[in-house]
Structure formats: structure tokens, C-alpha cells
């Protein structure tokens, strides 16, 4: 399971980095999304991998902490997802504005040949 997760994170991050370095703003935003997915999975994995363990403790407090998955990375991932989603949406707006004003979707606002 670790291997599969590691490979998945690697593929997501690698594709994300490659797309991030492309000249078209659409590629950049898709790259950022993929990178964010990779990073979110990575945060999740930092709580170690559990199979079949409950994420939340029952009412009444600690019973046996070892029977539960680490809840903190889940909280972190949730925050990270929300933030990266919001900033990506904002980036999309700026991207569309840039496309509308400059007439090109190149990240420099002009085609290389011009």
C-alpha cells in the first residue's frame, strides 16, 4: 500500500511540476491542481497509513489511542484542500482576466514570436 501511494503521489507531483512549467496558463492551473492533490495525499500519508481504523474517538474520551488513525493530518488536509481550492479559483479568475485583456493565454501575456 505504501508503494502504491508513493507512486501515486510521485506521478501526480511529477505531472504537476511539468505542467506548471508549461507556457499556457491552462496548463499551469491544471499543474497547480495536480500538485495540490499530490501534496494533500502526502500530508495524509504523514499520519501513517492505517487500514480499518476509526478516524474519530467515541464520546467519552480516550479509550485506546492506538486503535484510531491519527486525526491531525486529516484536519490539516481538510484545511489545505479548502485553501488550495480557493486560491486556485482566484487564480482562475485572474487567468481569465488576463486572457480577456491580453488576448492570449500565454503566461507572459504575449506570444513568443511577437
Amino acid at each position: 500500500m505504501e508503494l502504491i501511494l508513493a507512486i501515486a503521489i510521485g506521478i501526480l507531483t511529477g505531472s504537476g511540476v511539468w505542467l506548471l512549467l508549461r507556457p499556457r496558463s491552462y496548463q499551469v492551473i491544471v499543474g497547480l491542481c495536480l500538485l495540490a492533490y499530490g501534496v494533500n495525499l502526502f500530508i495524509f500519508a504523514m499520519g501513517r497509513l492505517y487500514v480499518g481504523a476509526a478516524p474519530i474517538m467515541p464520546k467519552g474520551g480516550f479509550v485506546d489511542p492506538t486503535a484510531y488513525a491519527d486525526p491531525l493530518p486529516q484536519a490539516l488536509v481538510l484545511t489545505a484542500i479548502v485553501i488550495s481550492f480557493a486560491t486556485t479559483a482566484l487564480f482562475l479568475v485572474v487567468m481569465i482576466a488576463s486572457r480577456g485583456i491580453t488576448g492570449t493565454d500565454h503566461v507572459d501575456g504575449k506570444e513568443r514570436s511577437q
Partner: protein, 572 residues
């Protein structure tokens, strides 16, 4: 919680005040700009008062010989688990600096810039909330959240006023910062994975006990975090976004964004001394060479940039880079163990240079304005950069364009002269010439560097010579670049002066007054920054205060939830 510890609620005020003010402003129609301006000024005033209170607290604590650190537990959760705000001398100083820079920027915006887009004042307040939160928090992930609050507001402020230049620069600014945020997250996750904690003080304690494999991972985490913060602090290979962004942003936005590079510097200062300082076992001094060499290269890059670019606002960006590079190098030296004097001088320089860079952004637009004074709401006209031919159109070589002007050709208004004097004072400050705090700060750094090294080691390391040379060269470079601009603009050009509003002069004068005060009270401020540096170089005080309160709650059934202490379940 035990009733003997009444939390100091003032600690959260610098975050809550701007956040509430910014949210309240959203209830008003965006046309009520004057109302919003008044609300913003009141909020900044309250923020300033609370920061003076915090600073008094931080100072009095040390004077009584007690702990220099105050804690505020958010939601009253026990310490290693819950999020804490931490007040010490450094954070009190930075919060006060933020409040001091915010007021001039707001007043300047009232001259017309705040009407050029939507919700300027709300975004401004949210930015302040994010910046103050980043200065006060003691938790790594909470720091990320405040970073994002700050960045999201800065995206809006940076794009305020719109236009192709801003959108183009904004697109790149946002992309760079999103990537840096992801670096930040990877670093945070790795730190949590290795130390099992996100509390900065707790991480500092855990790191001494890591085994080799984990230490390697922790170093990787520190490197990831370092990249994220160095992007924000605009260290050399990561700083190319800064000049176009700050050059394109509207002047009041750029002026408050001058503090944002210092947020990156602050975090590096905090983390490298608290976590990777002398007490970190084998990890002590990790990253110090990078900070030293990178910082010197940053200064060199800024110096070349400021002499190379003709645009005044971009020059301001390079000045911000020089200022960051100087402090980063000093942090590197401090981490490598060159004593409190150097770091104290660097902190003094940080206050002065940040205020000066902020003033520079405010003065850059009026000084390079070409509107011949016919425009009443001057900043409302966003003129595309005219060519040189047009810029010189009213000189004697192009007399046909000035025949309609009633003034004599050499007409100079008082406001223009004031601006010229302010410009030269700011230039003197940024170049480090004697009456201004830039000189005192640089002198204090050099004195600290040489004195301590000679008295302890008997010689000065080569890197320190390079730093000293670069410090002086940067001053020379800034001086040449700014004087060249000043001569061309204020002496060589004839013709009527552009109209400059009192609302645009007042904030510059405010910042200059602050700088002069920094010179006059240099002994007090330097005393404060040196005590700050001493406290920073002894992180055990900070750590023990934060974690001392943690032990009190360890009696509760809360266990340390470090994942490495849990028996990893057999997979499949």
C-alpha cells in the same frame, strides 16, 4: 484550566481588530469610501495601541527577570495539541511595525487609489490580520493559514486598479506563491511526520532526540520550508517575481506589501534560531551557510537590479530585496554563532529599512508622475508609460507644448520641493548615510560582527568580510541609482511640476518622521533589538515557557500523539 493563569487577551487583539474591521466594512456599500477609510484608520489606531501594550508587556517581563514569553491558548486547548499565540519581543516589535506602516499607506490610498477598485479597505484589513497572525502564532500549521490569509488579501490588493500590467504581474505572482504554499505544506507535513508535533517550541525540543533516518527527513522538511519562506522573503534565486509585482501594484498596496517580504524574513529568523539553533544537537546550524551565501548573493542581485532598471517603482522592489538579503545574511551569521550584537543591529536595520522601502513606494508614483498638474484627482489617471519624447515634451526643446501654461518654465511648487527633499532623505536612508537610521543599523551590524569575532576568535572569518563589503557596496549602488534618478528628475527637468496632493505628501512625511525618531531614539531602539537578539539566541527560554505550561496539562488523559510512538498496524 487552572484559574491561576488568566490569559492575556490583548495578545489576540492585533489579529481580531483588523479582521472584524475588514468584515464590518463589507456591510457598507463600496461607494462609502470615506466611512470605510475612517473605520480602517480607527482599526489601525487600535491595532497600534494594542501593539504598544504588547510591547510594554514584552519589555516589562524581561525587566523583571522573568520569562520573556507570553502564551495565549486559542480555545484554551492544552499546549502541544492546541494552537498557541506566542508573544515575545520580536513578535511585539513586528506587530508594532505593521501598525506603523499601515497608517501612512491607508492615508495615501485616500488620495484616490482606494476608489480604483472594489473593497480596497477590507482587503487591506485582512492583509493586516494575516500579517499579525503570522507574527504572533506559535504553531506551524496555523502559520500556514495566516500566510494564506495574508496572501489571498495581497492578491486582491496587488490586482487593485486592474490593467494589463497588473494582471500580467499578478498572474505570475499568484502562480509563484501557490507553488511556494505547496512547498510550505510539504514541509509542514514532513515536520509532523518526523517530530509528531506542529508547535514550534515542541518541534525544537523533539529535534534533539531524532534518530538519523528521521533527522535526514527533518532536514528535508527544513529545506522545503526554507524554500517556501525564501520565496516570500525574496532571496536571490527565488526573487524574480518581486520587482515586476511591486512595480505594477498600486503605490499604497506596494507600501504595505513591503512588510510581507519581512514576514518571510521573520519566519526564517524565528524558526532557524528556535529549531535549528545551537540546542538542536546534530542539526544545529543547518541552513546557516545557505542563508549567509544566499543572503549575500541577494544583496548583490538587488544592487545590480537597482542600478539597471529605469523604473522607480521597480527600484523600490530591488531595495526591498537588498533589505531582505541583508537581514537574511545576518540571520545566517547569528545561527552560525556570531553573537547578539550583529543580530540586534540587523533587527534595527530591518525596522528602518522596511519603513524606508514603504515610504519609497509611496513617493515613487508622485515623483515620476507626468501629468503637468492639470488633473485634479491625480492618481485616478492610470497613464501608460510615455516614451522619452513625451516626457521631455515641455522642455525648451519642445516649446510648442508649454505655450498654454501660465507658469514660468521653471515653476516649482512647494509640494514638489517637499517631495524632492523627502526623496533625498529616503535615498540617504536606503543608502545608509549618516543622519538616517540606515547608517546606524549598518554600523551596528558591522561593529557587532567585527567586535565579537575579534574578541572571541581573534580573527574575522572570510564570509564576514564578504558581507561587510557587500553591505557597503549595496549602499553605494543604491546611492548611485537614486541620485542619478534624482538629478535627472528634480534638477535637469524644466517645466511645471506635477500636481501632488497633501494626502500624498503627509504619509511620506509620517514615515520620515518615524525614521527620524528612530535616529533620535537610536539608543533605546538598539537596546530593545539587542535584548531581542539575546533572547532569540537563547531559544530555551521560549521553549521552556511554552512547554512549561504544557506539562501542567499532561496530567490530563491527553497523550502525545506522535505517530512514531504508535504501534504501526500490520498492513493487509
Amino acid at each position: 484550566m487552572s484559574p491561576d493563569t488568566v490569559p492575556n487577551h490583548m495578545l489576540i487583539a492585533p489579529i481580531l481588530i483588523p479582521m472584524v474591521a475588514g468584515a464590518l466594512m463589507l456591510f457598507y456599500n463600496d461607494r462609502n469610501r470615506q466611512t470605510k477609510l475612517v473605520m480602517g484608520l480607527v482599526a489601525v489606531g487600535l491595532m497600534f495601541l494594542s501593539s504598544t501594550e504588547l510591547m510594554t508587556d514584552a519589555k516589562s517581563l524581561t525587566d523583571q527577570g522573568e520569562t520573556v514569553v507570553q502564551l495565549y491558548r486559542l480555545g484554551d486547548w492544552p499546549v502541544p495539541v492546541g494552537i498557541v499565540l506566542v508573544l515575545d519581543r520580536l513578535s511585539a516589535m513586528m506587530v508594532m511595525l505593521t501598525a506603523l506602516l499601515a497608517a501612512p499607506s491607508l492615508i495615501y490610498a485616500a488620495a484616490g487609489w482606494h476608489g480604483k477598485g472594489q473593497h480596497y479597505h477590507s482587503m487591506f484589513q485582512f492583509l493586516l490580520a494575516g500579517v499579525n497572525g503570522a507574527f504572533l502564532t506559535g504553531d506551524l500549521f496555523n502559520l500556514f493559514v495566516f500566510f494564506e490569509v495574508m496572501l489571498a488579501a495581497s492578491y486582491g490588493l496587488m490586482l487593485h486598479g486592474s490593467g494589463p500590467d497588473r494582471i500580467k504581474a499578478g498572474l505570475q505572482y499568484i502562480a509563484v506563491n501557490l507553488a511556494a504554499s505547496l512547498f510550505f505544506l510539504i514541509g509542514v507535513a514532513l515536520v509532523y511526520g518526523t517530530t509528531g508535533s506542529l508547535n514550534m517550541a515542541d518541534i525544537g525540543r523533539e529535534i534533539a532526540t531524532l534518530d538519523d533516518a528521521q533527522r535526514l527527513l527533518f532536514h528535508a522538511a527544513a529545506a522545503f520550508l526554507g524554500v517556501a519562506f525564501l520565496v516570500k522573503a525574496a532571496a536571490w534565486p527565488l526573487c524574480f517575481w518581486l520587482p515586476p509585482t511591486y512595480g505594477a501594484a498600486s503605490p499604497p498596496a506596494a507600501a504595505i506589501m513591503a512588510i510581507m517580504t519581512k514576514v518571510g524574513v521573520y519566519v526564517i529568523l524565528r524558526l532557524s534560531l528556535l529549531i535549528l539553533g545551537p540546542g538542536a544537537g546534530e542539526s544545529a546550524g543547518f541552513g546557516a551557510p545557505v542563508l549567509m551565501i544566499g543572503g549575500v548573493l541577494t544583496m548583490g542581485f538587488g544592487m545590480i537590479g537597482i542600478m539597471g532598471t529605469p523604473d522607480l517603482a521597480r527600484k523600490g522592489g530591488y531595495l526591498a530585496i537588498i533589505s531582505s538579503g541583508t537581514v537574511l545574511t545576518a540571520v545566517g551569521f547569528a545561527q552560525a554563532g556570531s553573537g547578539a550584537e550583529l543580530l540586534g543591529g540587523a533587527l534595527y536595520y530591518l525596522i528602518g529599512s522596511t519603513a524606508a522601502v514603504s515610504a519609497f513606494f509611496l513617493i515613487a508614483e508622485p515623483v515620476s508622475r507626468d501629468d503637468e498638474g492639470e488633473d485634479d484627482d491625480a492618481p485616478a489617471e492610470e497613464e501608460p508609460s510615455k516614451g522619452d519624447a513625451q516626457m521631455w515634451a515641455w522642455t525648451p526643446m519642445g516649446l510648442d507644448t508649454v505655450e498654454d501654461t501660465p507658469d514660468p518654465a521653471s515653476a516649482r511648487t512647494v509640494s514638489w520641493l517637499t517631495m524632492a527633499i523627502c526623496f533625498s532623505l529616503i535615498a540617504a536612508m536606503l543608502a545608509g548615510l549618516p543622519p538616517m537610521p540606515g547608517f546606524i543599523g549598518k554600523f551596528a551590524m558591522l561593529r557587532g560582527a567585527f567586535q565579537e569575532n575579534i574578541s572571541i576568535a581573534g580573527h574575522v572569518p572570510a564570509m564576514l568580510w564578504v558581507f561587510s563589503a557587500m553591505l557597503i557596496l549595496c549602499g553605494l549602488g543604491s546611492l548611485i541609482a537614486l541620485i542619478r534618478f534624482g538629478i535627472r528628475r528634480f534638477w535637469a527637468e524644466q517645466g511645471p511640476s506635477p500636481r501632488i496632493l497633501a494626502l500624498e505628501i503627509a504619509p511620506v512625511l509620517m514615515l520620515l518622521g518615524m525614521l527620524l525618531l528612530l535616529t533620535i531614539r537610536a539608543d533605546a531602539v538598539l537596546g530593545y533589538t539587542r535584548a531581542t537578539a539575546t533572547a532569540l539566541l537563547d531559544p530555551s527560554i521560549y521553549r521552556e515557557t511554552v512547554l512549561h505550561q504544557a506539562q501542567r496539562v499532561d496530567a490530563a488523559p491527553v497523550q502525545n500523539l506522535a505517530p512514531d510512538e504508535m504501534p504501526v498496524e500490520e498492513q493487509q
